[in-house]
């Protein structure tokens, strides 16, 4: 009897694992196939039936991709752009969220609504004037053109404000009585307490910017200022280039984001679910 229950449990968990593994294989297939193609030699590319597993781990395709296009430079540009946006968003969102959470002022709700409304305006609805504006400023092919338009965030302000509201108001009163100015209070007390929320916003905004496509496509023309997402698709446009080299490039630029995804999974997921799930 006991054995029977045990074996039934065993079979049920084996079948559950089986379903999980099949689902995982389907989800991972696109990445697997990219990796598989990236590992193929040029002659293997022509073989039929197509190989489903790499015969060797070949790094030379990545090297060839790097020699075809300055992927390292593109990567650098993307990292600089994403870091600038991340730092910018952290600063502007911290300051604004602090005012919304700790200062009682006239029209506070109105200003808060103004901030929230920016989340409802699709970026595409403003892209033409923004493009023309950046062009008039002469900011095409510059980091300021890539980063400054994104340095304020309604979502991030909202996220940090929610977190700041959990910090007891008594702390502020005590600090004020001790003669601590409000900016010092923000820097020395609020920010250290809000570290998890700051981490969430940082990872979220970095990834969002790193994966941007349309804006860098519009405002960068010079190869030395291209971001990695644009650069990689340009590889594909080169007719004479083999697919295995393009896929090697894809694998190369996936490494940073996948690492970030694994290392800071908790923060990232907290950021993504912040707007969706209450409690």
């Amino acid at each position: 009897m006991k054995d029977q229950i045990f074996s039934r449990r065993l079979w049920s968990s084996i079948s559950q694992y089986l379903i999980l593994i099949i689902a995982a294989i389907i989800i991972l297939y696109p990445i697997w196939s990219a990796f598989n193609i990236a590992m193929m030699s040029d002659t293997e590319m022509g073989s039929y039936p197509p190989l489903q597993f790499p015969t060797a781990i070949r790094f030379e395709n990545i090297q060839r991709a790097l020699s075809q296009a300055p992927l390292g430079r593109y990567l650098f540009n993307s990292v600089v752009q994403s870091t600038l946006v991340m730092v910018g968003q952290l600063i502007t969102a911290c300051l604004a969220a602090y005012a919304f959470a700790f200062i009682e002022f006239k029209w506070r709700n109105f200003f808060f609504l103004v901030f929230l409304s920016t989340m409802m305006i699709p970026w595409e609805a403003t892209i033409i004037p923004n493009y023309l504006f950046i062009k008039t400023l002469g900011w095409t092919d510059t980091f300021q053109g890539l980063a400054i338009p994104f340095m304020a965030t309604g979502f991030g302000t909202f996220l940090l404000r929610q977190f700041f509201l959990k910090i007891p108001h008594e702390l502020k009163d005590a600090a004020t009585m001790d003669g601590c100015g409000s900016f010092r209070f923000l820097m020395t007390i609020v920010l250290p307490l809000a570290r998890p929320a700051l981490g969430t916003l940082a990872v979220y905004s970095f990834l969002q910017t790193y994966n941007q496509y349309l804006w860098p496509l519009l405002i960068t023309n010079n190869s030395s200022m291209r971001t990695v997402q644009i650069g990689i698709t340009l590889l594909q446009d080169e007719e004479r280039l083999m697919i295995n080299i393009v896929m090697a490039g894809v694998i190369f630029i996936l490494i940073p984001t996948l690492t970030l995804f694994v290392v800071s999974n908790r923060q990232l997921i907290r950021g993504l679910t912040a707007g969706a799930v209450k409690g």
Partner: protein, 312 residues
């Protein structure tokens, strides 16, 4: 306002009197604005003024580099409904929404339920199911471009199981579906993460008491999980619809709007009209249409969430 803040406010106001209180209110107002100003200046420069400018440009014909040339009122909007390009990309976009949104939510629900199983190592599977949140539209599109490739792609494997020679991106009949599949794959990660988080906020007692009443897993799913997730489904529906309406990257990487304009979705059409054809006014009028569609969707969601809060 909590008690201490209130008392300190009172003591301060009695100390300074009415005039002092007013002066103090003005001072706090400017202090607050000082904190808001960096974000506010950026929003005004890159969101609010451009939005107004979009309306303005949409009422003009421009020269090829975007300078306003001639005021035409609503003519650009009239042209939207007269020319086939916009109507085509609008209807293709609606189809794209229909292809992607329900599929994404259904698959993600399945994955979230799987990820919710109480098994050893389940967190690894959760991570795999949500992996697409780390992958950009550009890289995913390139990966799928070669999955659809006639010789090295997935067709060989599909042939083995009896599905023969899918045309994928080559035919105008299947291209939109193929792009949709890429988008679904990209959106699954976010949807699964959100559904998993929402599933974990359902109180366990509900399931326990249902179990005492003799409910099986299917009953529990149907009568507890699904209803408790209804607001999350609605949220995801809106998020996925917004994403579908804004789709650009896979189109630009995989199809450039073709074949036969069958994948010329709204944002791609906007891009093409102003960036290549130099028709800024016409493109702006399409952007304004997009703005109103998205606004409508957001308002719908807002109304629904309000109602839900009301019922609770």
């Amino acid at each position: 306002m909590d008690q201490t803040a209130l008392t300190s406010e009172l003591s301060l106001s009695s100390k300074f009197g009415k005039k002092g209180r007013q002066k103090r209110a003005v001072k706090t107002f400017f202090q607050a604005i000082l904190y808001l100003s960096p974000a506010l200046i950026l929003f005004i420069t890159f969101v609010f003024i451009p939005l107004i400018r979009s309306f303005e440009i949409s009422a003009y014909i421009t020269d090829p580099i975007g300078r306003l040339a001639k005021f035409v009122g609503l003519m650009n909007y009239e042209r939207l409904f007269q020319t086939t390009t916009f109507m085509n990309s609008f209807s293709r976009t609606l189809m794209f929404v229909l292809y992607t949104v329900p599929t994404t939510i259904l698959i993600s629900l399945g994955l979230a339920l799987l990820g919710d199983l109480q098994l050893k190592g389940i967190s690894v599977f959760r991570m795999i199911f949500s992996i697409s949140i780390a992958i950009s539209g550009a890289t995913a599109s390139l990966m799928f471009l070669y999955i659809y490739h006639p010789t090295v792609g997935v067709n060989y494997l599909l042939n083995l199981v009896g599905i023969h020679n899918l045309t994928w991106l080559v035919s105008h009949k299947t291209a939109l579906l193929s792009v949709a599949l890429t988008t679904v794959w990209l959106q699954i990660g976010l949807n699964t993460v959100i559904l998993l988080a929402a599933r974990q906020t359902i109180p366990e007692e509900l399931f326990e008491s249902a179990m005492i009443d003799g409910a099986n897993s299917w009953n529990k799913f149907l009568h507890i999980t699904l209803p408790m997730l209804s607001s999350t489904f609605f949220f995801l529906m809106v998020v996925d619809m917004l994403a579908a309406f804004q789709t650009f990257t896979p189109i630009h990487v995989m199809t450039k709007g073709g074949p036969l304009d069958s994948t010329n979705l709204l944002v791609y059409s906007i891009y093409r009209e102003f960036y290549f054809n130099g028709k800024y006014g016409f493109a702006a009028s399409q952007a304004i249409m997009l703005f109103f569609i998205m606004l409508l969707l957001t308002i719908l969601q807002f109304v629904f969430v309000e109602r839900k809060v009301h019922y609770e």
